[in-house]
């Protein structure tokens, strides 16, 4: 019988070399660490979610009344999940697209635009008009305005002859500042009662979100975040900058426009749902880079979403059950989140 000899190796590569380290993780240790982090975050997230549903529930566990109350509280959990998914995925995608890890999409004038539209609504329509203009149409309109603004800005700034990311960022910041000034001016002309209505709308607040927005917000969030996750491998390349991206055969401008469009959808959903959350995305992204221990977006995205969920549910839980102030979650996010961020930064010595 003919013995099949193994043909000569195509290469002179020694067979004992590890052929695994080119992927997402440099070593097996990093890989294990990432999975442990994911496991810990999932466990913590589940515990906090259960805590939010069950803590302080006046009815005995398992009774129909218990579940009814838990069901009502579950809405907040869904809102939290949507917001952190939007903020975490948008911030990381934005940072990779712009090759800059110390900015967030918020500085591109998103929040200023939200504040400006809300202020303009109160300014021009008055309290009565704003109260009439509520519900899904108002939410959809807010979404549409923000995505349109973002696409106009990005499209205009990136397509010009001298179009580049730095100019885009700078113009975004300047426009954000300008919109902020316009809002500030209009706010000064409001009557105290109108201003009161407006202030309530401008605080980042989970309990503020309307249940009726969710059927629109949830699919948009899942679709945009999912598309970005599917494009992870391309994002890994785009994060290396324009020259490397082009050299490796991707159309850099096209990739950036797609990413920025999806980012603007995510940011619009989050901001229109609960208002500005400037610090959350930045905090979550920075922590996720540390936790994930890889450059691969396939892992960074989920780790970031989990980190964000734990952070936000934790903050919400503390505020609601210890300080009885569930309204202003953004305050504790900035306090605890900022502290964590500083500790990580000081210990590691770099971003």
């Amino acid at each position: 019988m003919l013995e099949v000899q193994p043909g000569p190796a195509i290469t002179d590569v020694p067979v004992n070399r590890q052929h695994t380290a080119s992927g997402a993780f440099a070593t097996d240790r990093d890989r294990h660490r990432c999975w442990i982090v994911v496991g810990a975050l999932v466990a913590l997230g589940l515990a906090l979610a259960f805590g939010l549903l069950a803590w302080g529930n006046p009815l005995p566990f398992g009774s129909p009344g218990f579940w009814r109350i838990a069901q009502m509280r579950a809405t907040s959990l869904i809102v939290i999940a949507i917001v952190v998914t939007c903020q975490a995925v948008a911030t990381i995608a934005f940072q990779s697209a712009t090759n800059n890890r110390i900015i967030t999409p918020s500085i591109m004038g998103f929040e200023a635009l939200y504040i400006a539209t809300q202020t303009a609504a109160v300014f021009f329509l008055g309290v009565t008009g704003v109260v009439v203009l509520k519900g899904v149409p108002q939410f959809a309109l807010q979404l549409l305005i923000m995505v349109l603004f973002a696409m106009l800005l990005y499209g205009w700034l990136l397509s010009g002859k001298y179009g580049n990311l730095q100019v885009m960022l700078l113009v975004g910041i300047v426009l954000g500042g300008g919109l902020g000034s316009v809002s500030g001016f209009m706010q000064r002309l409001l009557t105290p009662s109108e201003f009161d209505v407006l202030t309530a709308r401008l605080f980042g607040s989970i309990s503020k979100a309307e249940v009726e927005y969710l059927p629109l917000a949830l699919p948009l969030c899942i679709a945009a975040a999912g598309l970005l996750w599917v494009r992870s491998r391309r994002l890994n390349v785009v994060a290396m900058g324009r020259d490397v991206t082009t050299n490796l055969g991707l159309n850099h401008r096209r990739e950036i426009m797609i990413v920025l469009f999806l980012v603007s959808v995510l940011m619009a959903v989050s901001t229109a749902l609960i208002g500005p959350m400037t610090f959350l995305g930045f905090l979550v992204a920075t922590l996720a880079y540390q936790f994930a221990g890889t450059h691969d977006h396939r892992f960074i995205f989920p780790v970031a979403v989990l980190t964000g969920f734990v952070t936000l549910t934790g903050a919400y839980f503390v505020l609601k059950n210890i300080f009885y102030a569930q309204g202003a979650v953004s305050i504790i996010i900035e306090a605890i989140g900022g502290a964590t961020f500083l500790v990580v930064l000081l210990r590691k010595g770099k971003l």
């Binding site: 195509i10 290469t11 590569v13 070399r17 052929h19 695994t20 380290a21 080119s22 992927g23 440099a26 070593t27 940072q95 990779s96 090759n99 800059n100 890890r101 992870s232 491998r233 391309r234 890994n236 390349v237 994060a239 290396m240 900058g241 324009r242 020259d243 490397v244 082009t246 050299n247 490796l248 055969g249 991707l250 159309n251 450059h295």
Partner: protein, 251 residues
Amino acid sequence: MIEINGVCKNYSSSARIGPVNLQIPKGGITALVGPNGAGKSTLLTMAGRLLDPDAGTLTISGHDISRTRSKDLAKIVSILRQENHFVTRLTVRQLVGLGRFPHSGGRINRVDEEAITRAIDFFKLTELEGRYLDQLSGGQRQRAYVAMVLCQETDYILLDEPLNNLDMKHSVQMMKHLRKVADELGRTVVIVLHDINFAAHYADWICAMKDGQIVEFGTPEQILVDETLSRIFDTPVSCMRGPKGPIAVYY
């Protein structure tokens, strides 16, 4: 062969490059030399399609780079810019692995892994492959970058001043590696060099640029002539026979 026909790039009315007509032969090392601001890097980046020319056509082994899909070009030509700053934290092996993207689409299989290992071993980075880029010296990092474009396995490799910031030893090592890339792997290397003596010793062809124009193209022996070099660099240069071929003395 890289064919450049009537390529122009206008930065302003006073700073314009071209029209350039040039044919860079297939195989060997072609060095682009010339004074600062002559347009060497601009020409190279246009050939690597990182910069769009304002006029003219560029063809690389029969493919017009403005018409060919970028994805297909990435398997024909690769380019490395002078400045590389990456925010992403990568190990040497992961960086080199990114060079496989045109072939793998980011899904690295066994063939890719072998190509990565070959490129790493070729540039003597075997011991360093698990190190992060921020843990390397400048010379080692530069080698890792070049290994990345080598790993792309393109026939044409364009390098913009790869000797920048390298000391004597690392410069010589890099040029020897590139010589091997050309001789043993049969790739065509086009390289922007500042030191005319490196070009003279390691390149097969020297292309001299000045004020956005090609002024000379030839073998090192043809270019290393007192009068020619003095004219190109606007400074008195005298060429002499060194122990390993012609040397230009300009200090």
